[in-house]
């Protein structure tokens, strides 16, 4: 009993709407294919997990947007496991929700369950990450970031900044091995860098997207090759923040002796930049919940929606950090 209540207040979800209501809405929706946007919808949202601050911000944004719009949310956390996500989608289907939103854990492997959703006439919306499925009738639209693009942005910024400087040695802190952002951010970055022979990635190792690992790996990099590192490219800000500590402890000045590039634009990165310890962070905006809800409402109201919608994202440098810091929500 008390668990759910606490959870309800915690995630700002409408804990007061009870199960019977759910069913009513559910059976209503089966009658008409399209309905008024103002009608109360039941939306199933399956999130990857809570592995980072970014993710938590994304979850909150989505939850708030759905409940604020007066809809009912069925939330499920996959704990980073694809099989859990598939199970969650199956039970959303069993619960006859009006729409399913999910951030796929990986790009592949959702054909079967999405086919089941399609058969049950439940529209599926992809958030944050895409799926790799040939039959694109299985989902309505994909709203999210483009990790390759983020990697490219980082590369472009670096090239612009340091082109004239001769040999540039870069160390890279990768995300979790095999995860989509790690693969794509690496790829995008390398695409740009490879065109400039004076830029070279000398070391690259995984930091598992965490501060502690980022710090530990950077420490080892510095010990073995300390004075030859010009640039650090970290696949997320958390690892960059950890690495900054390692650099300071090693006795170098972050952002001066070593240029530091992060991705995500979380609050911590702004603090670091404001303190002059980090050069740039590429935004990967998690706050697209309202945008998603709008799309769902449009679609259920019978409107056309494009297959791919990009989230608005930019890039923040040290100079902008100070004034933007107070406005950052996550």
């Amino acid at each position: 009993g008390s668990d759910e209540e606490a959870a309800g207040t915690d995630g700002d979800t409408g804990a007061d709407s009870d199960a019977t209501e759910t069913e009513d809405t559910g059976s209503d929706t089966e009658e008409g294919d399209s309905k008024e946007a103002s009608e109360k919808l039941v939306i199933g949202f399956s999130q990857v997990g809570a592995e980072s601050e970014w993710r938590t911000a994304n979850t909150t944004s989505m939850q708030d947007a759905i409940t604020d719009a007066g809809h009912e949310l069925k939330f499920s956390d996959a704990q980073q496991k694809q099989e859990n996500q598939i199970k969650a989608i199956r039970s959303f289907i069993a619960q006859k929700v009006d729409a399913i939103v999910f951030s796929p854990v990986v790009e592949t492997g959702f054909e079967t369950v999405l086919q089941e959703a399609k058969d049950a006439k439940i529209p599926v919306f992809l958030s944050d990450r895409a799926v790799d499925i040939e039959d694109d009738s299985l989902w309505v639209t994909f709203l999210g970031s483009d990790f390759i693009e983020e990697g490219k942005k980082a590369g472009n910024w670096l090239v612009e900044e340091m082109e004239g400087e001769g040999e540039v040695n870069i160390v890279e802190l990768q995300g979790t091995v095999g995860s989509a952002p790690a693969i794509d951010r690496k790829e995008g970055f390398e695409q740009i860098i490879s065109e400039y022979p004076n830029f070279e990635i000398t070391k690259s190792q995984t930091g598992d997207f965490t501060r502690a690992k980022g710090k530990e790996v950077m420490e080892a990099f510095l010990k073995s090759d300390g004075d030859n590192i010009d640039v650090l490219y970290a696949h997320n800000d958390d690892m960059a923040i950890g690495a900054i500590q390692a650099i300071e402890e090693y006795g170098l000045k972050p952002a001066e002796d070593i240029v530091i590039i992060g991705v995500d634009a979380v609050k911590g990165a702004f603090e670091a930049m404001a303190a002059g310890k980090m050069n740039v962070t590429i935004e990967c905006n998690p706050l697209f919940g309202p945008q998603m809800v709008e799309i769902i409402e449009q679609y259920l109201a019978g409107e056309e929606v494009p297959k791919r919608i990009a989230v608005e994202e930019s890039m923040y440098t040290m100079d902008q950090a100070e004034e933007l810091l107070p406005t950052r929500q996550y």
Partner: protein, 327 residues
């Protein structure tokens, strides 16, 4: 008389089953849509691979060992299958035996290390876990989607059961379970496993083929893991190095919840199946609840596990007390 005695030895199993029913009843009254055949069958569809792994794990645990490599072997199998089907364009009829061989070979290697060099199973299979996952990264760090008619067929065919349906994987899993129950109860090998788990020293002195049995156990577990890997691949239609991360703990939990003693020598394959269903129903309840934040999800899983285990203990302890006072 006879049934009474059976009751006692199979009590943990029966208790577990009763708890499963209770849980199901709880879910059905609380959530709409919960009490449908499909939701029940989904437990099997979504956990077919876990059932298969848990069956293999049951033998390992019955013998007093443990196999931590199963999750990674699933990932490796999916990766091998995906790369062979998609990159090497091999026919599934060649790929499937290769996959099963991969798992069995890893099992064989582990079994030999454990037996011939007297290494501790926990560590050998922990190394196996690192190795198998590492190997799947070596094949590719990216996920490989599978587009193949056979795999599509296995993934999407539905076997109707009244209004509802099950998948082919469920049938595979059930066949494995039936075979395992037979092996466990009616084969010499199966009984040797129990003896080995009861007292290895005695098993040696009684002249049982301890070495062969031990190695065989890990081969079976490896085989089951790779078969589960194939079923998982049908389920996901992709190969991925991060697949089934931490699944070994789920499998162990399922086996133990199903009433098998980790110290070996006592337990049933059927119990492990119930154990898997219990883990499945916990998840289903949480999804149906649909309001838990990420962290409350974790806490709720822990709490439900606790509830189960404590209930089970209480039932078993109670009945033991009763039993000894009756005789």
């Amino acid at each position: 008389m006879k049934s009474l005695k059976l009751d006692y030895r199979q009590l943990p199993l029966l208790a577990t089953f009763a708890l499963f029913i209770m849980m199901y009843a709880f879910g059905s009254t609380r959530y709409t849509g919960f009490l449908s055949t499909q939701v029940f069958l989904n437990l099997f569809i979504d956990n077919a691979f876990l059932i298969i792994v848990a069956v293999g794990m049951t033998f390992v645990i019955l013998s007093g060992g443990i196999d931590l490599s199963v999750g990674s072997v699933i990932a490796l199998t999916s990766m091998v299958a995906a790369s062979l089907v998609m990159n090497a364009q091999l026919s599934p009829w060649i790929v499937i035996p290769i996959c099963l061989l991969v798992g069995s070979l890893i099992g064989l290697g582990q079994g030999c290390l454990i037996h011939f060099f007297n290494l501790q199973p926990f560590i050998v299979t922990l190394a196996g876990m690192f190795l198998a996952r590492g190997l799947s990264y070596l094949i590719s760090v990216e996920t490989i989607a599978i587009n193949n008619p056979f795999f599509d067929f296995m993934a999407s065919s539905r076997i109707p059961l009244g209004d509802s349906f099950i998948s082919i994987s469920v049938v595979i899993a059930l066949v494995v379970v039936v075979l395992a129950v037979f092996v466990g109860h009616y084969s010499k090998f199966g009984r040797n496993v129990y003896a080995l788990g009861g007292n290895e020293q005695s098993a040696v002195l009684m002249g049982l083929p301890v070495g062969k049995t031990k190695i065989m156990i890990y081969v079976i577990s490896g085989f089951c893991a790779s078969l589960a890997g194939l079923v998982f691949t049908f389920y996901m239609l992709s190969g991925y190095g991060l697949h089934a991360n931490g699944l070994e703990l789920d499998a162990i939990a399922a086996v133990v919840i199903g009433g098998t003693l980790l110290t070996g020598g006592a337990g049933y394959v059927a119990g492990s199946v119930v154990g898997v269903l219990i883990l499945g129903i916990i998840q289903t309840i949480i999804v149906f609840e649909g309001t838990l934040s990420s962290w409350w999800t974790k806490i709720a899983i822990g709490a439900l596990l606790l509830l189960f285990i404590v209930f089970q203990r209480v039932i078993v302890i109670r009945s033991k007390v009763k039993k000894s006072s009756v005789t």
